[in-house]
Symmetry: C2
Subunit: 490 residues, 2 copies
């Protein structure tokens, strides 16, 4: 391992050390399993403090590049998240960074793209991030679009409030009061182009250099890869069928936590009330902020949904919502709800991030909500998706005896635990793809597992919202044939 | 000065020191002109290294909070950029930061909003950021919207490429080849929600902690306040009627420069060919990147427009464009064009920033461009705005003998230099407002002047694109009356 620190650089020595080790791991100069020098030796060799080395190692461990073996040493991780297949197209993994032009610095940005786009048109595709295109309220939409255009006035040519159209902010404030128990002023709502931008806004408002953030493990790539690209210190905590294991929080000193309590992505767990209370108590005791991503809470099938974390701890919680699942991802409209005391900072941060969301979609969604169309659409769509949820669960149970699931209580996808005698999730995904069936491992479905592959190897994600009952039946039946053919008894 | 460092915090001591001094300056506990302890004394007192203090002082000096007087000492700056008036409503300056809740950290974000929103409905309003709502091609738009909705398929419910619709990226690549001499692959084009988001994307891709950026002085608040909120080291260089004074560049060692060469905001200058060459030579010699904001280059009235900087130095230049002026700001659609070697980093950074722009507007704009409607619309609109430009120039000349302007060759606004015997720009703005005429100082029109008030005191910004010729005549005539009434002979 060759490290060369530039003491005249504006970049801190620790940051340089971190970047150089990380790059050597990523480009293969440091191979999986290779041992690293002790922190004492490396510190002496580089003439820097031992703390700097220890801290850098810890950060690389947290991000999954290194593995610490207590009393033995520190090693390069053998399965780097970076080197696992990333995109549903099975394209080779890529680290975004073009060739370096003479004299020109390469991009300052380093990161990897998350899997949200699925261009493949597989005949029976259980892609977990897809809702039903036929459920879109097209007729009502056309009417509202024409009405908005006819009464647009200067709205098509004028800048609006960067935080969004007042009517839409009010409609959302009303909606979350009724559906999620969140009582706020419309000024606390910021309209954004989807939940990913909402997350960017939240961290711009909240996170300081060097801050730590707790994340669910596995979590969605959009969050994991964003935090990685911003060099946050990440503390992953395992999730199970009931969401994040909040008993692990007590040992962690962090200012921010990112959770998806309604229907965790990718594992689908719904956080229990006891865990919600534990989470809120931890946050309030530590003065920590909770980023609550509630991306598909509209579809909840088992009784009344639990109130949002935001309703339990309004001052500590930034709530992220989106119309991507409830209406359509092509509308690119979501929102963030900030605590009252952060509303002004959020509003300014938003204005400096972008000058607001497209007027027409905001106007149409507001009209759709205020006129009652949205509530009717949600009821209709929920019934439709519930039927499909029932169908996929019964089909999987019929073909795979003793099938175990996570995430069936809500949302538009479930996670299926493969019996131990089945081929790996990757193998099943590949065989199924060759027979025109799309099923997805955690990683290829847009999830990210920090260090290890417990979920990646043994679970598959199946979205059911966009498939008819006939397609679900046919898909599961063919899957059972394929698994038997690949050596798994069903 | 009371500094209290928390050695258990995850935030570095240097960062804590920086933040605490900065906050005490911003909230007035440390007053302009106050002397700071020597770095040796402060280091002893706080038991930290002298280097930490020196570095922190240097950073505060670079950001304009402190002033170093060689051999004398370090002082709080008397004119802080933060304390200048900000909004067109003449509201008091605000630092976005709510009250601190018990235990909860305040927002990490610090910044101030830029003036892009104008909610006042002044009868004759020369607001410089407004185009003509009546010029919007509403009839064609309605037809294209209906066509897109009728053929939407899964586009309303599916995630698209975060970098934008392929058809629109291709249409833009074709457009900038013909109009700006920029020859690129469509993959270098990233569709974003307007030029402000494009700028955020560009700096996320390019800027490293501690990097320096050269900016025009004055420049637009959207850029200035963004760079300030991200703690960049800023080097302002004065502009005149011909844009940024590139002869000042040689002395500056920076990796990035932000310029608006077609029609500088707010002063309106068009960068001369000689200066363009000097800028490009400097960038290529230093391996620096140029961020070229070309927000209103479609409206160029004096012969053929000069080729874009991007056309002269494709590897070094990130080109930002928007449909806000050419079509309408309510469409919230713009784009960034990256050099080929940064396209992949840009694409990943964009995906982690947001999951793409609204599908419908992208589809409609692409159809409008590919069908020739956009080119026809531009020709029509340019003729309309040229007539208004001629009208406002002749009206100002008729009422104010020897009137001097900047920025009349392009765009939708001009800058008017007040004769020295006139009341100040602020005074004229206030008197005019009271008589239902909107004219704008640099600051209230969304510009930002670093240190000093040369332009702020003596120039007014007048937008003319949204006013009829009759309104322009009436507005200028009433302005002349007001100025005479306020003590200026015309």
């Amino acid at each position: 391992m060759i490290i060369s620190l530039d003491r005249k650089s504006n970049i801190g020595l620790q940051e340089q050390l971190f970047t150089q080790i990380r790059e050597q791991i990523l480009d293969g100069r440091l191979k999986g399993g290779a041992g690293l020098p002790s922190s004492r030796n490396l510190a002496q060799q580089l003439a820097i403090s031992r703390n700097s080395v220890t801290f850098t190692y810890e950060r690389l461990i947290n991000e999954g590049y290194l593995i610490a073996r207590p009393m033995v040493g520190t090693y390069v991780a053998t399965t780097l998240p970076e080197l696992a297949p990333a995109a549903p197209s099975d394209s080779p993994p890529k680290i975004a960074d073009g060739p370096i032009r003479e004299k020109l610095a390469p991009a300052a940005f380093r990161g990897r793209p998350h899997s949200i786009l699925n261009n493949s048109r597989i005949p029976i595709d259980f892609w977990p991030q897809r809702t039903d295109p036929r459920a879109f309220p097209l007729k009502a939409w056309r009417r509202l679009v024409l009405h908005s255009l006819a009464t647009a006035g200067h709205n098509l040519t004028e800048y609006g409030d960067p935080c969004g159209l007042a009517a839409l902010r009010t409609a959302i404030a009303d909606h979350v009061a009724g559906s999620r128990g969140i009582y706020i002023r419309p000024e606390q709502v910021v309209i954004v182009a989807g939940a990913q931008l909402a997350l960017n806004l939240a961290v711009r408002v909240l996170v300081r250099p060097g801050d730590s953030i707790v994340v669910e493990n596995p979590c969605n790539q959009g969050a994991a890869f964003l935090f990685e690209s911003l060099n946050f210190r990440v503390h992953p905590i395992a999730v199970d069928q009931h969401g994040i294991d909040t008993s692990k929080l007590a040992a962690i000193d962090a200012q921010i936590i990112h959770v998806m309590p309604s229907h965790q992505y990718p594992m689908g767990g719904t956080l229990s009330l006891a865990r919600r209370s534990e989470l809120v108590e931890w946050a309030e005791r530590n003065g920590a902020y909770i980023i609550e991503d509630d991306y598909d809470s509209e579809f909840h099938y088992a009784g009344a949904p639990l109130a949002a974390i935001k309703a339990m701890s309004p001052d500590n919680t930034i709530y992220l919502g989106t119309f991507s699942k409830s209406l359509g991802a092509g509308l690119r409209t979501g929102f963030a709800i900030f605590p009252d005391h952060l509303a002004e900072a959020a509003s300014t941060a938003k204005a400096l991030l972008d000058n607001g969301q497209v007027w027409l979609e905001q106007s149409v969604i507001a009209e759709f909500m205020l006129g009652g169309g949205f509530a009717r659409h949600l009821r209709r769509t929920k019934t439709r998706y519930l039927t499909r949820r029932d169908r996929i669960v019964s089909a999987l149970r019929a073909h795979f005896s003793g099938a175990e699931f996570s995430g069936t209580d809500a949302g538009t996808h479930l996670a299926w635990k493969l019996p131990s005698h089945f081929p790996s999730a990757h193998r099943i995904q590949a065989v199924a793809r060759s027979r025109n069936i799309g099923v997805y491992t955690v990683q290829s479905g847009g999830g990210h597992e920090y260090g290890g592959s417990q979920y990646e190897d043994r679970w598959l994600l199946l979205g059911y919202a966009s498939l008819t009952e006939e397609q679900i039946d046919a898909g599961v039946a063919r899957l059972a044939e394929l698994v038997r053919g690949a050596g798994g008894s069903t």
